[in-house]
């Protein structure tokens, strides 16, 4: 069995994506980190700490050509990847616009391209590399905001539609690829002190690392702890779980 393990993480410059990248490196993984913000210093600093394990790549998940270039760049360095974490995501300051206000459809399209189509296009582009991997694991950072059954918001059209659509796209990939040995994780990270709104949200509940830790246990493991005991994850069911292991209905 091959012990070198390769992962790709999107939206890795800061926030949860950075914390996930750092956590994988600490666990000895080789990581291809998708960078969207070349001037943000954190990934470069991490690269100097892990020069043999970390490769930073430009990756805009809303651009098919950028996705294909990133996949080609990864393919130049490895013939397989084991883990793909689709983390990149965006929000808008037009969230609170109710239907009685003029909606910003261009913003809705932007959110859909990054949050919903991006992860699907990235997954499809990396499938040939994942096909050669051992773990064949596809992970998606979604959100409780994508749960239609639990939705209590009265606006947030662009963001909620994008995350619900993402969940649907992931389920389709699951239906198609599970028979070929792929396994899936769909994750709601909690309310994070990150940069989604453009500046650091200090009011939120969790540091990115506090969500990245349970996320990596879930993404990499095959069990979930509850009642103090590990329970095998049913790989033939796709569910969305949060950082506390709780299941969110679709």
């Amino acid at each position: 069995m091959n012990t070198t393990r390769y992962a790709v993480v999107t939206g890795a410059d800061r926030g949860l994506g950075f914390a996930l990248t750092e956590g994988l490196l600490e666990r000895g993984w080789h990581v291809f980190a998708g960078s969207y913000l070349p001037d943000w210093p954190q990934l470069a600093e991490l690269q100097s700490r892990y020069p043999d394990l970390l490769v930073n790549l430009p990756l805009d998940v809303s651009s098919d050509s950028s996705i294909l270039s990133a996949a080609a760049a990864v393919e130049e360095r490895t013939r397989r990847i084991d883990l793909l974490i689709n983390n990149a995501g965006v929000i808008t300051d037009r969230n609170d616009d109710s239907i009685r206000m003029t909606q910003d459809y261009d913003e809705m399209i932007r959110l859909y391209q990054v949050n919903a189509l991006g992860p699907i296009q990235v997954s499809e582009a990396f499938l040939p590399l994942l096909e050669q991997g051992e773990l064949k694991r596809l992970c998606y950072v979604s959100s409780e905001a994508g749960s239609i059954a639990k939705a209590e918001r009265t606006a947030w059209f662009g963001y909620c539609m994008s995350k619900a659509a993402l969940n649907r796209g992931v389920h389709q990939l699951f239906d198609r690829l599970r028979p070929d040995g792929y396994s899936f994780r769909l994750y709601h990270p909690g309310w994070l002190r990150t940069y989604m709104s453009g500046t650091l949200n200090e009011e939120a509940e969790l540091e990115p690392s506090e969500s990245a830790e349970p996320a990596l246990n879930y993404f990499l493991g095959s069990t979930l702890p509850w009642d103090g005991k590990p329970h095998a994850i049913d790989e033939d069911q796709l569910v969305m779980r949060d950082y506390q292991g709780r299941e969110w209905p679709f």
């Binding site: 399209i109 499809e124 539609m161």
Partner: protein
């Protein structure tokens, strides 16, 4: 009191069948459709009765709106509400007042209305509406406001028939790979997936935003109905639909839920309906295709009852199929 419904994609087979069904129940039906041409001075205020010329939904294979099936009284009545689901019998006086409204429209030069009054029937009128064309939505809204002081029933019928037509296709290597993986003969691309999002999710929202002011009156029905498909059910939608289309339908379900959360506080009610006509519902062999017009008519008849009757539980939004079955989100 006259009742007005507005249907998106009124010429698409299901939209047309539903329009005719509502007309036969005494509703005035307006709507937009990309296939509708601007017809200055000759716009037909078309009814469902026999008349010359092109008539919306008058596909002879779609026996809708005939009023003769005899079993429509209970279809769509999952509501168990106090109202019956029977076709409303429009009183003669009401019919005449409908007719005189028609005459007002006839002044614009509509020969059909003059020659073919529609006693006991409502009226049906389509406007050109291609959301890709700048300004057409605004024009359709303006034309709607000229013909109706209010809309009671807004029906967002996303266009099934455009499923395979009109998509911009720009094949890429990734698309070729996808096609190999998924077996779809038409490769999906980012462009086609964005087109799906526009068609199935954004266009309905654009229309709700624009037409909501016409629905606000206190004493009206205030009902918004979304036509969708179980293909958008995250867990139960299966894998046969193109991903972009399935995702966009899920987005529509979320949209319906958010609007439901907001607008029910102001007295709106909602329906989310799967007519059972999507590719994954209807077998595609030529032999079975013959039954599709009948299926469209039957599903439209059920929908007409489902959309116009009260429901036992208006506090829940459920994706409901054409046999009354519930689909999970």
């Amino acid at each position: 009191m006259d009742r007005t419904a507005w249907i998106l994609n009124l010429r698409e087979p299901f939209g047309a069948a539903l329009g005719r069904e509502l007309v036969s129940r005494g509703w005035k039906v307006l709507g937009g459709d990309p296939g509708e041409q601007e017809q200055p001075n000759s716009e037909a205020q078309r009814g469902s009765g026999p008349a010359e010329g092109e008539k919306i939904g008058e596909n002879p294979d779609v026996p809708t709106g005939s009023g003769s099936s005899g079993f429509e009284d209970f279809e769509g009545s999952m509501a168990f509400g106090p109202e019956t689901n029977g076709r409303s019998v429009v009183k003669k006086s009401e019919a005449q007042s409908e007719h005189s409204k028609g005459d007002a429209l006839t002044d614009r030069g509509d020969p059909l209305s003059a020659d073919n009054p529609l006693p006991e029937h409502g009226k049906l009128k389509a406007f050109p509406l291609n959301p890709d064309q700048p300004g057409e939505l605004e024009q359709a809204v303006q034309a709607t406001a000229e013909l109706a002081t209010h809309i009671d029933l807004l029906i967002l019928n996303t266009d099934e028939s455009s499923e395979t037509g009109g998509r911009p296709i720009f094949p890429t290597d990734a698309a070729a790979f996808r096609e190999k993986e998924t077996g779809f003969s038409m490769p999906e691309t980012v462009e086609s997936r964005l087109y799906d999002y526009e068609t199935y999710a954004l266009t309905p929202l654009r229309i709700v935003e624009k037409l909501l002011p016409l629905m606000e009156a206190e004493d009206r029905l205030k009902r918004i109905c979304f036509i969708s498909s179980h293909e958008g059910s995250i867990s139960a939608g299966g894998a046969s639909a193109p991903i972009g289309q399935a995702m966009a339908r899920t987005a529509l379900h979320m949209q319906a839920k958010l609007l439901f959360n907001d607008l029910r506080r102001s007295g709106y009610t909602f329906r989310l309906y799967d007519p059972g006509l999507s590719r994954s519902s209807v077998p595609s062999s030529d032999e079975l295709m013959g039954s599709i017009p009948g299926k469209v008519a039957e599903s439209a008849r059920f929908a007409a009852g489902f959309f116009t009757n009260p429901h036992a539980d208006e506090e829940r939004l459920v994706l409901t199929g054409s046999r009354g079955e519930e689909w999970p989100f």
